[in-house]
Symmetry: C2
Subunit: 391 residues, 2 copies
Amino acid sequence: MADTGGAFVPGTEVRIEGRAGGPLDGLTFAAKDLFDVAGLPTGGGNPDWEGADAPAGRHAWAVETLLDAGAAFIGKTVTDEVSLGILGESAFYGTPVNPAAPERVPGGSSSGSASAVASGLCDTALGTDTGGSVRVPSSFCGLYGIRPTWGRLDLGGMMAQAPSSDTAGWFARDAETFARISAVLLQEAVPEALPARLLVAADAFGFADAAVAEALRPTVERLGRIAGAVEEVTMAPPGLSAWARAQRTLQPWEAWLTFRDWLDRRNPRMAYSVARNLVRGADIAEADRLWASMLRAEARARLTRLLPPGTVLCLPTTPFPAPPKGLSISEQEVLRTRISVLASHGGLTGVPQVNLPGAAVDGLPVGLSIVGGHGADTSLVALALAMERTQ
Amino acid sequence: MADTGGAFVPGTEVRIEGRAGGPLDGLTFAAKDLFDVAGLPTGGGNPDWEGADAPAGRHAWAVETLLDAGAAFIGKTVTDEVSLGILGESAFYGTPVNPAAPERVPGGSSSGSASAVASGLCDTALGTDTGGSVRVPSSFCGLYGIRPTWGRLDLGGMMAQAPSSDTAGWFARDAETFARISAVLLQEAVPEALPARLLVAADAFGFADAAVAEALRPTVERLGRIAGAVEEVTMAPPGLSAWARAQRTLQPWEAWLTFRDWLDRRNPRMAYSVARNLVRGADIAEADRLWASMLRAEARARLTRLLPPGTVLCLPTTPFPAPPKGLSISEQEVLRTRISVLASHGGLTGVPQVNLPGAAVDGLPVGLSIVGGHGADTSLVALALAMERTQ
């Protein structure tokens, strides 16, 4: 068997042909092991996950949609346990390779999907993004990646984590492929018209490593030339860290609600850090959740006001490129928290976001994100395409 | 390979002969996988425990002492992860059989040691008892078992959990063998003289299931006839549950201190319940620990006053016989807490305790414990021997 860099879950490299003549005919895809694929177990990244006990009866909506459009399925990819993780190291399945930075993590939780696409094993791969799980590996591996508008895609057959933040996303190496897949999964043609106004999130750039902000500057300038009008704004007036703290109050509690019956019944094996975050989720106070939900409503209103149709916002996807593998829990916790400061607006407000690859710090990829208002998904894809065409 | 009921850690069934002509010549023993055995890894019940990476260089003191006395080592036994567990179900190594109740748990954390002895695979086996890990499986499997006076044995080469409560103990099927092994490990001959006064812990009997108290009554009566004077007492004036709560405040905090560097560095795989208890341990407040230590000092003074030389106290070892396997975490938590009410005085005060088998509820073994003052270990063993001889 060819070396697949640990991207695939062992035993799931099964080919399922897509429908002939569809718009994605000739393309191949993989699916994060949170998506049901008929005939294969849904392992969820944990050896004791209940889906691992029996093959799924039917395909998840996203899998079915790609097959219907002609893409061929080639395997299921490794994920952080029950999607709880942002660096992409799995205590059970190992760490999928980041081909752009082999000594570094790939990012997670859609680690295997990003790894498979970045390694050229398939053209696209399905991931999920609750708190950054598509955007972060896109940035670390140098890929196009999308977190769609929350609620836009049918999540049938996809394992839930925190339902009010969960989305299904995907990766590609080039914008043309990315646009073809996006049109199918978003069920909307990629428009010709491009956003006419670019907002630059000064608070987000200020939070990222200076080297990252510097590396992204040429991409921002090119974006500005395409969009026309450029304006610096403060994305989160109360602070991005306040938004992140609200999301880290709401999301772990929801994850706890999602998993608590399984935990109680099965007492699964887990990496200590994953178990710890679930225990901490259970401990979040009702009053804290209430105030976090107030902040969430304010954040949604803020981004709605900031992002009318035709306006996009850009920010660094991650504050730094991929960190080294094998750090301690406490070292990772600082990184995880910093990542969440730049990523939490997604789960908190539900706006769509696309990662644009191309920049690097010391040879390590780092991505620039474009964010639109609710429903602006294809507009972001159009801008990604225009950026690649004018490169 | 013969069916060993899941008692042994795979790959550790290696025979090491004892010194010829010693007092234990002809006997065989196993050691809980918390004890170093030269040439074998010390797995600690967790696949990511650091001792599992390389064979130990030398025997633990208790292992060396048994070998020196002529007993032959035959294998290492399954334990609850890093000795944190009281029911004896392991997510990684399975549940060693309780031959007296095959559908039930064996009790833990010295589950494999109790199982191996109860199944007749060896004459004795080393266990550890921090919060009940020898006493509880002795009760559930119907064995003699001892938790020695805290600080009496050299714990060199034995994995720590909560050092101010940790002890090394052992199991046997009959009192004669139990006495031979005890004399060697306690390094003191078993005396002829027997305790002359028996205290019956009315609060402990009141806490146990009525059926357990009833089943133990004949054993208590026989004990009384041997000891002469019998008196009912309240063992813990503030309540056994107050003592247990103090111990469950001090022990998990100490366990956290023991394991936190390893957890942070290694991020080990663990059963969710084990991880949860470590996380909860880390959260215990300093003020709570301070008051618990006050209660500990009072409890020590209480048992010292209650148990002068020549006096023993008896109580049910466990409030019920072995529960079924496969219960949920929340179901187990209630049982675990009830067990701790009858077991916490050991770790809290350091007094020695011996479990006497023989009674049963609906065919399931349940043990009566005899407790002495600090250092009265061989006196308890002498009483166990006298009980068996007069049966």
